[in-house]
């Protein structure tokens, strides 16, 4: 399956319940339109791998009951305020949180893209993250002079079932332009399947273009769907600003589950209107 031939609903249907799903931060192509399609199809039991953090996308999925596990360095709505649905789900134990730190998530994905079992990383030893992550191992640096006792943290490979993000452009061959946002390329390399929404189609082949260095080749891309303003109400790079009034309203309403439900209903309705 390649090429920009999918609707959002069939894209969402391709991401199964219980999938490990890699997602980007809010300022890096968070696919809100596709996320609403996942919520519309009542996705359940997702294990989100936030690369390396998330915001509104995780809030919406957690608030809608679609999430079992959140693996992340942080969940933040930045200047808009606290991520209430995430905090509430943590407090009540409705979701499991695998707390990490940004480069640990990158390192796990880098191990996966190289087909390695783990990646070592400096720092982190002494943080309470380590005893709470039994899947992380402190090992001896095998290259240190003997007796010098250089301990180093080993992070297991993270190979998500699916990656899902929004990008500026794709062509009809399934190549996707991400530019400088190379964490999206890392996500695609590490994940078994990659689903992308794009602002628009590129006429021609992106690999024949000057921009090819910023292109994820189609070999990694499972399917592409066009979703104009696919990150709304979040901003998208320098292409369009975010809807700040909507975000402020979200933070206010999402203090309670009832308020969240009302907000979500409104978002879903507006998406139908736009379609």
């Amino acid at each position: 399956m390649t090429g920009p031939d999918l609707t959002l609903s069939s894209l969402a249907a391709s991401i199964p319940d219980g999938a490990t799903l890699a997602i980007p931060p809010d300022n890096c192509g968070a696919p809100i339109a596709a996320t609403l399609a996942l919520i519309r199809r009542k996705a359940r039991g997702l294990h989100l791998v936030c690369v390396p953090q998330s915001g509104l996308q995780t809030e919406l999925l957690v608030g809608a009951g679609a999430v079992r596990t959140v693996e992340t360095a942080a969940i933040t709505l930045g200047e808009f305020g606290p991520a209430h649905r995430f905090a509430d789900a943590v407090r009540s134990g409705r979701i499991r949180v695998l707390d990490a730190t940004c480069p640990a998530i990158h390192a796990g994905l880098q191990a996966a893209e190289k087909g390695l079992p783990f990646m070592p990383l400096r720092g982190i030893i002494g943080s309470d993250l380590v005893p709470n992550r039994p899947d992380w191992k402190v090992i001896d640096n095998p290259f240190a002079p003997s007796g010098s006792g250089d301990r180093i943290l080993a992070l297991p490979a993270i190979a998500p079932d699916c990656a899902l993000f929004h990008a500026p452009l794709a062509d009809r061959h399934g190549n996707v332009f991400v530019g400088r946002k190379r964490e999206l390329m890392l996500m695609a390399h590490a994940s078994r399947q990659t689903f992308v929404t794009v602002e628009e189609l590129f006429p021609g082949n992106l690999l024949d273009d000057d921009r090819a260095a910023g292109v994820i080749p189609a070999i990694y891309v499972t399917a592409v769907a066009v979703a104009r303003h696919g990150t709304w109400p979040l901003p998208f790079l320098d292409r369009y600003p975010g809807d700040d009034a909507m975000m402020s309203r979200y933070v206010e309403l999402s203090r309670t589950q009832e308020g969240f439900d009302r907000f979500l209903e409104e978002l879903l309705t507006r998406q139908v209107d736009a379609a």
């Binding site: 930045g78 400096r122 946002k181």
Partner: protein, 245 residues
């Protein structure tokens, strides 16, 4: 005596002085005041200093994605970075995760971000927190996102260098694992700092007052620097007094 500057501008000025001589300063999440201090320091450096503001498109030269900041730090290519904490204790341990138990924390904050890594690898980490109360400055953090110090045998090229709050400026002695109060901000008192700090710290018999920002900096803070930081922190910039024409 009327002050010619706001507390925010004082803090930006202190940060600018702390950063003098840095080659490359990086500014992380939720850091408009550190970002402003770094951009002012860059302006004053005459082009010698590079500044990377995370979340910015214009003031961010990374082309290798999210890993680049961390790879640069591990190679020693970042001299200064800023961290905060919902809780900070007297050994400079910081907590960005939450309080009231873990993992089902009663109060849950965003999470550790890159702190557990960068605190080890950036030589001058400046702790910055806009709230200086006993709620924040605690005897012992509930969760160590990143430790202030490490035992021998742990690779560590970086760590806490200073802590700045709206009350005063501290340095950190990595050998003694203790903060030292370096100066008290204008209009604030030592007693106020003692009352609002939940841990012991060192200090001279007579603690000096924090120097005011250079008068020439105020126009830059309200003008060029404000415009630059507004790209990443528009709501913060809207609260800062703009330069009067």
């Amino acid at each position: 005596m009327t002050q010619e500057f706001t507390t925010t501008e004082l803090l930006i000025g202190v940060i600018t002085r702390l950063l003098a001589g840095s080659r490359h300063v990086a500014v992380g999440a939720a850091s408009p005041i550190p970002g402003s201090g770094a951009l002012l320091a860059r302006e004053l450096s005459g082009g010698a200093m590079r500044v990377s503001v995370l979340g910015s498109l214009k003031n961010n030269f990374f082309t290798s994605g999210g890993v680049e900041l961390f790879d640069l730090a591990a190679q020693g290519r970042i001299d200064a970075f800023f961290l905060g904490g919902g809780q900070i204790d007297g050994e400079a341990n910081i907590n960005l995760v939450g309080t009231g138990g873990y993992p089902a924390s009663k109060v849950r904050w965003p999470g550790s971000f890159g702190s557990a890594y960068l605190y080890f690898l950036v030589p001058h980490v400046i702790l910055f927190r806009e709230e200086h109360t006993r709620r924040v400055m605690v005897p012992k953090v509930d969760f160590i996102s990143a430790p202030g110090t490490s035992e021998p045998g742990i690779h560590r090229t970086g760590g806490p260098y200073a802590m700045l709050t709206p009350l005063g400026l501290f340095s950190f002695d990595r050998a003694r694992h203790r903060f030292r109060l370096e100066s008290v901000h204008p209009g604030r008192t030592l007693e106020e700092i003692l009352d609002n700090t939940g841990f012991d710290f060192d200090r001279a018999d007579k603690v000096p007052q924090t120097p005011a920002p250079d008068p020439g900096w105020i126009g830059l803070i309200r003008g060029k620097v404000r415009e630059e930081i507004a790209e990443t922190y528009p709501r913060y910039a809207a609260r800062i007094a703009p330069a009067t024409a």
